[in-house]
């Protein structure tokens, strides 16, 4: 695994590179470690408040540990009326956690999201950004079983 220091340094001279650097760190770690935000402040020569301010503004970026598989459920209106709530209920039951939580073994995290642009087949969830469309509550156990 690439060290976040190395990753951040790669973007040091790119104009506006802070967010690109955060994306790159998250791609590697699945989240942004808090120390990486402090390090980013040093690398980009900005106050820590600015580095945290930017990192926490964006819902797609997450400061602090989360699971290996990040399952996000779209709750925007088209997914809402297509039964997102039932999908959420099954996910919570199957994993034994509530939305926003991570399983004790660090494998799964459940998060809400707004529309992910796959509304041709609602409801939609994404697992590590890969969309699963037209998801029926009954399919959830099989989808989870694919996550090894």
């Amino acid at each position: 695994m690439a060290e976040y220091k190395q990753i951040l340094n790669k973007y040091k001279d790119l104009p506006g590179g802070l967010l690109e650097a955060y994306h790159a760190v998250q791609k590697e770690y699945n989240y942004i470690p808090e120390e990486a935000v402090r390090e980013a402040a040093a690398v980009f020569g900005i106050p820590a408040s600015k580095a945290f301010g930017a990192a926490t503004f964006y819902s797609y970026l997450k400061v602090g540990k989360r699971g290996k598989y990040i399952i996000r459920i779209c709750e925007s209106a088209p997914c809402h009326i297509a039964g997102a709530a039932e999908v959420i209920a099954v996910l919570e039951r199957e994993l034994g956690i509530k939305m926003g939580e991570t399983t004790a073994d660090g494998k799964f995290t459940l998060e809400f999201t707004e529309c992910v642009g796959q509304c041709q087949a609602t409801p939609v969830i994404t697992i590590n950004s890969v969309p699963y469309v037209d998801i029926k509550p009954a399919q959830v156990p099989a989808v989870l079983a694919q996550c090894k």
Binding site: P15, G16, G17, L18, L19, E20, Y22, H23, F44, K50, G53, A54, F57, Y58, S59, Y60, L61, E75, S76, A77, P78, H80, I81, A82, T113, E114, C115, V116, G117, Q118, C119, Q120, A121, T122, T126, S129
Partner: protein
């Protein structure tokens, strides 16, 4: 009956989007070649005359926007708005996934018009697979040399709806929190890193190669005279065929839902359609014969917006849906200005109360007044448009609210 007419989707499923050779074979990059044989002033005049209006929601005349960039500016930028955060919308993804080179060509045409050497595509973070596709397309264009001295870089958004607003998007490319700027100055004068910047939507850019190639008159004659051309629409919700289509802007909502969409799912009765994304107005059956162009939609208090068409059947609970939308705005408000930060919070609070059967007639009055204030005084379009679903449903579906009110 209106037929589909494909301009920006003309190559969809006919070419391999991974191969620039395929695009070149269909006449790709001939528009750019022609544009580069024209003077910058002539090119801008031609686009202005075509009356192409922005496809990102505000419908501003594209050529006119370009003309605001000072002709003697040394450094200028072209920015493609591919944030596509409007719920129910996936048209820009389709346009790019089916034909990425067309977008690059459109941006390069704009680059020639405003003398920009650098373009940025701000693509939403939720589309990492499209970012990869775009980067491969840019590599191919570079190695073929078709873009000349115009460079394009892709930047990833971070899942903030407000970053679709052009000045917030610029802040985000600069690496900051995506909060809208006070205007003026407009980006055409002072945008990215303080330099003149043109921000256009994916679909706007994708129209340019064909407009340059076929001429302004050709384009201006398609669809509605005041908003010519086609529009890519995405059909969602309780419609039989949840598809994307590209139709001339004279198509009516009824045609879109019943001819292209195959009508309401399972033969149910129609209740409402929300056009333009989650900030659009709700439209009842009696207004379905309105055509989809920007001005006709405006005239019925609705908006064409991004071209999302969200259909609801008779069983749907309007108040519950509008409550969900109010929650969306509460979550997505960036908090920079008070009327929106506080207003979206209160709207969501009142909608939740009404939806639970605990609201009063006074709540409806308060929310109506609040919404009207927000439309006028919020800093950016997010806050200004957020009351629209509430106000239009109170206009057309008030009985659904009244049914849920506390009997006092």
């Amino acid at each position: 009956m209106t037929e589909e007419q494909r301009i920006v989707l003309r190559n969809a499923d006919n070419i391999d989007p991974e191969k620039i050779e395929d695009y070149l074979q269909t006449g790709g990059y001939q528009g750019l070649e022609k544009a580069r044989s024209m003077s910058r002033a002539d090119l801008i005049a031609e686009i202005k005359k075509s009356n192409l209006r922005g496809r990102g929601g505000a419908a501003f005349n594209c050529g006119l926007k370009w003309s605001f960039v000072p002709a003697d500016a040394k450094v200028t930028y072209v920015v493609c708005n591919f944030d596509e955060g409007e719920p129910g919308t996936y048209k820009d993804r389709i346009i790019v996934q089916k034909d990425p080179q067309q977008l690059l060509e459109g941006m390069a045409i704009c680059g020639h018009a405003v003398n920009a050497k650098q373009g940025y595509i701000y693509c939403r973070g939720e589309y990492p697979y499209v970012v990869d596709l775009l980067n491969r397309a840019i590599d191919q264009a570079r190695s073929k040399g078709v873009l000349g001295d115009f460079s394009i870089e892709v930047r990833m958004g971070g899942g903030a709806y407000v970053c679709g607003e052009e000045s917030a998007l610029i802040e985000s490319i600069e690496g900051h929190r995506g909060e809208p700027r006070f205007k003026p100055p407009f980006p055409g004068v002072s945008g990215l890193w303080g330099k003149p910047t043109v921000v256009n939507n994916v679909e706007t850019f994708a129209n340019l190669p064909q407009i340059v190639l076929n001429g302004a008159e050709w384009f201006a004659a398609i669809g509605a005279p005041k908003y010519p051309g086609t529009k890519v629409l995405t059909l969602t919700g309780d419609v039989e065929n949840r598809v994307f289509i590209e139709v001339p802007t004279t198509a009516t909502l009824r045609e879109v839902i019943f001819d292209f969409g195959g009508g309401v799912k399972n033969g149910s009765k129609f209740k409402a359609v929300q056009v333009g994304g989650t900030s659009g107005g709700f439209i009842p059956e009696l207004l379905l014969d309105t055509s989809i162009d920007f001005d006709s939609m405006r005239s019925i208090g609705a908006t064409l917006g991004t071209g999302a068409v969200f259909v609801m059947d008779e069983t749907r609970d309007i108040v519950d849906i509008v409550r969900r939308i109010a929650e969306f705005f509460k979550d997505e408000s960036c908090g920079k200005c008070n009327p929106c930060r506080e207003g979206t919070f209160r709207c969501c609070e009142i909608m939740t109360r009404i939806n639970k059967g605990k609201g009063t007639a006074q709540d409806i009055d308060n929310m109506t007044r609040l919404g009207k204030v927000m439309e006028r005084v919020c800093l950016c379009g997010l806050g200004q448009a957020s009351p629209s679903p509430i106000l239009t449903t109170l206009q057309y579906f008030k009985h659904e609210y009244e049914r849920k009110l506390l009997i006092s």
